[in-house]
Symmetry: D4
Subunit: 225 residues, 8 copies
């Protein structure tokens, strides 16, 4: 591993060669100036970069500097350039409610930027199970499923029982009271009775998509002997 | 309200007149001798009594003294006599997994002892949603539904979305790790996205059945003007 | 179940036929524009709609578009139209303190909008038990009781012991310190020593009223054979 | 302050002179041999000693060595000798349920051993409020009230509203599930809406009685100028 | 108990006769208008009133209406009139750090308003134990001690070991990180190794002072036979 | 989905056809008799079955009835028969300490039974980073990595940074004090700074292996178009 | 110990003589006016003072009054004067990510102000272990290491395994969701498998540096006989 | 770093050369047979070994095999051989109560085995502050202080304020109720108002002593330039 040292940050410029993807910038807690410097370095090296958790006002400063960059305000993601590879298999992103969209879109955009075809199936929470079952055929065709849910976080368990592919569950901070800012669906997903399911941090649509893309990458390379 | 004072306990002997049901004895933390005295008092008064959370060895001492009493070892309930009223409407008790049976049976036996017809639908956890859907028609006919689930506690949300009757959710202590002895499904049920649902304490099959019976009682009396 | 797909939301237009009530819109986390579209759809179909947890500024935008809609600022509810049915039996909503009013009113308005006669008994917290006992006769006449309390959440236990009807307890976020934003009265109500009581999420006056209305609906239909 | 150093323990032999009471031995986590040595020292000095949280088998070893000592098995207290002073005012110990007796008796015996007249009012939990109200007159005559409750811990709030004397609340570990081994009634009592009430640790009947006795001592000495 | 019903509030106008003190108004969560009405009622009846947790802007509105009322901005208390009785014995209020002043002053002002002489000993946290020990003689002369501390909440344990009078401990929300907004000192005080100490809610200086005043009242009346 | 109803359990006999794997029996909370019946049914149908979380004494009863079954006492797994498919790609199971072996072996045996080649790299906790780095070359060749760790749960983050394949992290209950029976490494893994990592429940080696096997299955089938 | 009493604060003016360092002012919760008075007192006495957790606007007021004082905005520290002693040995401050800088700088500046040479190694989180290993030689030369990390808090464990000197771990509030504002890395660091490591409160860079400086002071004095 | 691979364990045989101390065996969760093999390896290499958290029955098996080894039953430590170096400076181990002895002795024995002179000052909890102050002179002479306390964990704060040397605080699991098995004193110590103090895990006497020994080692080597 080699990296570029900016003082406040050591940027991993070797990452794309090693993993297929350049480093991604986590925007929270960094100043627009710091992000600008890291972006410049990564664009020079890779011609592409993604910034997550970027506030609107920092995004405005950065798009002024990088006019080609596109900011998506719901998932708060800034994209520049496009990835090298493009996979064939499909990732399906499901979400339970309209309020979970910001996380679902973080997942969907990340996966697309990493070269994955994405199908979105939104607002299919378990309290109206027919809305999900209307997509039953469809979801069994996905290679990987990302299931986003706030409130009680029950959707991934139901989906996990319908498919034979890996399910990555994402709890969201959408809810109130006993929901404890997402801790309840997080713990609930971890104790799911469905097999073949794993979980990422609250609102971490990016992390789920990243793992899903690695799985597609592996599938695209076929068996490793 | 009038009561009989045993020193260690004040027994509410007027309860059946007021509420339709005699006082129920919570067996945990009481000695066999204490339970014996309270039972004797209640049998003298009402000819019926129920003891919950009764350990096997205390049950053996008490059935020796009250040969007519019947002990159910899975839900750890001792029953003596039968209630006055018998309702027509049906309560359905559902449970998610085989390990939740001890709570589901506490609910079912309590409801029956309070005069409610009970239908049991067990092992219909959401990770195999077709097992539940096979009973779809059936569950829409219940007047009240008691839904028992451990692990992530997702079953009540799905059931709640399928029916237009009150759903009482009971989380169980069945699970491990992030399940935190039932706290996770408890909180999860409280943040359910289904309307018309309320929750009782972990493993509290008795409490759910008690409320369900009060609802049937109300329905049997019809509108109160 | 059939639904209308707005892309960001799948609206259940068949709900009134199945359950007696049209879908209710949860306002938090949805934009005024999104709510507008769902309202339009539901009004076209049912001529009635309720929006809960609606902020004042969104309410102003929406009442400008739907002049017939009425906004209640304490419980933050927007109402349009009125329900089909009207029950005879009465729901009583009690609350412990003046600060719990916003939740009690969410419950009361929801119940009324669902066709239930509602009596309000407010500021009867247990630390001045005579205020509650002054209503003793009255509360035994309710068909269902919704008991709202913040702080230590003790009121439902006392009420539960005075009546033979279902009690639905609602903890509120009113309190400080060890109150932990409502978690303490929530847990406290769940461990209540009163029988026949169940609990909904913190501040969830809507959920309590919804279940109460389902119980009245059942009672109005009488025994189900 | 002067003390006797036993190596494993520094015994405060000066305490009675300073505070009116000799040091009390907390039995848990000490061996019978260690307790024996501390008892011997305190008896030599004061002719009286109390040991709390003492298991039955250690008690048997110690009563064999000190035949005058009396062991109370429910509150697990060993008493030897009697205190110097005897107050006139009365402490009332109330408890909510039969299962809370072990804590209530720890409080009552401690208070008596410290010279306080004690009246016991047991099994008056709030879910049957008339049992408490039957003692209304009586409890307003106490100088201090110790209120012991498990489950949701609501009793002290109600009592606190009925009297104008200090109320010391003691939560107990009696309950299950959301009760979290006493944490729920502990937090609940701390957020009580009643004024003039304070709280001690879960099951700490001793601590409550100790403070109550200090209050009686102060009252017996009258105003301090 | 008799009360005046304002609709949103039932004001206990009989309280001074029963307990020696008129009702106190908890300002949080009430509008200036609501507080105004309750104040008016209580002033008409008792010529005195205290409002706690009152924000500065509400205070400005109310002092405009009641020019005799005095607002204390650090503890956020509004006082009107003065109590009937005046005790002789002294309460000492100690606090650990400068940042805990707002709670210590809530306690001190409340106690004074209830007729208790108060001595303040501030900024005597245990990490500089000599600051406390410099007041050793003084604190043994108090009749009751209120000990306020944030951070680790250790001060009450040390004070409790120095005196033979009741100690009421008040944890504060002053601290960060593992302090968890006061939960840590709260729990810490509850597990104190000092005897004769009890605890009130986080930042509840009012509650501690209220109980302390009741103790002084009892002491002033002498033994109750 | 079709299933066989044993009354206490609904066995999914169609699962192998749908997912490639027969249903797995979770042994905890089921009696030996119940497990026997489910095993018999699954063996009749599939000639293979796995039972997890099986206590030693139940295992002895079952191996007496199924002499071909093999019991592994460290991970408490009973295996009967072997799976249909055999993949080429490799799963690596790493664990941090010797005490984590029981979870690591649950993962390894599960993966093997599902047809995956497994390499074990044990006792490579991060406090001796050279032990892990000695396997650096090796771990980059795995197709999926299962990383098991108790204590602070740091190993998956380090491994996640070394590879470009999916990492599934498994926290264990090995630790004490602030470790809170595994909750600490669970939460810690969820907040990992490594991308491409997801998490399963505490001690859930089975769940991690199940998802890993699904990923290998997908890879063996190649891209899905 | 002697101190100066400002009423709201007792300033320890004797501290430098006793410990080598004057008292440090914790800025949070104190007014600019209060800080000014304490600063004045300490400058008169010691010619040096440090204020931590000082907001920008209070800093502006104070630098206007003390033009020689320097405010560092990232760690929010105000420095005036310089310490008496200067040690030879080196402290290394490491941090995991760019967002942890504010805590790392609080530690670094504090240590420097206390006379310690400080080397900074930033952005060396464990998910890119080579960035840390590039400094391997260097870190073994430190006398004490302060390791700052948010997210999962794994860095101190790895560093602890590489050196034979004391490691002081500082968790930060940088993270989201399961990170629980720093509680997760705090608990995680406490259960570290590395020996020779201890932990301070979340974001407490000051506390870590203070202890590190005491260690250097001890080392500079050599063995104490 | 080089290590010996026993399959279930990778033993670091190079550790003494690197750090001055051979690897220590954590006995919990390892079988007597596994410990035996690791001990044999370490004795062959270093002629010394320490095993911590060793149960009595495993200790009996191991002392039969290594007759020179000595088992200390209170701290559950097995010692074999003695360390190379011997420092001059002194560590003082203080503990708050008799019940904390098992942790204090784990710390004291570990420090002695690592070559540190240790002075023990036991049963000096803050509720009898004079017991601690009687040792005031003495404790200012220590080079490092290890302060062990259960209950509210206040002792380290007081000690920290009396000395100018590093204080390492060890919370213990001794307490009940709100003490939460040590979590309360752990959090309490972390929020201490004393400077120069750090904290280790609950009951981790070993960890505190290990860091203390590293500090003495550094002091014995003098300044590092």
């Amino acid at each position: 591993m080699s990296f570029e040292d900016l003082g406040f940050s050591k940027v991993d410029t070797d990452r794309e060669r090693r993993t297929g993807y350049p480093e991604v910038i986590y925007g929270e807690g960094k100043s627009a100036e710091q992000i600008y410097q890291i972006m410049q370095l990564l664009i020079d090296k890779h011609e592409r970069v993604m910034v997550t958790r970027l506030s609107k006002d920092k995004a405005e400063q950065l798009t002024a500097l990088f006019p080609e960059a596109v900011y998506h305000s719901v998932p708060r993601i800034l994209l520049y350039g496009r990835p090298l590879q493009q996979y064939q298999s499909e990732i399906i992103v499901l979400c339970a409610g309209t309020s979970d969209l910001f996380v679902a879109e973080e997942a969907a955009l990340t996966a697309e930027w990493m070269g994955c075809p994405v199908k979105r199936i939104y607002d299919v929470g378990v309290a109206g199970i027919d809305r999900l079952l209307a997509h039953r055929e469809e979801i069994t065709k996905a290679s990987v499923l990302i299931v986003v849910a706030g409130m009680e976080g029950a959707l991934p368990s139901v989906v996990g029982g319908l498919v034979r592919r890996p399910v990555i569950a994402v709890p969201t901070s959408v809810g109130y009271g006993a929901h404890m800012e997402g801790l309840t669906p997080l713990l609930s997903m971890l104790t799911s009775c469905a097999s073949g399911m794993s979980v990422v941090n609250i609102d971490n649509g990016f992390g789920a998509a990243y793992q899903a893309a690695l799985i597609l990458q592996l599938a695209s390379e076929g068996e490793q002997k």
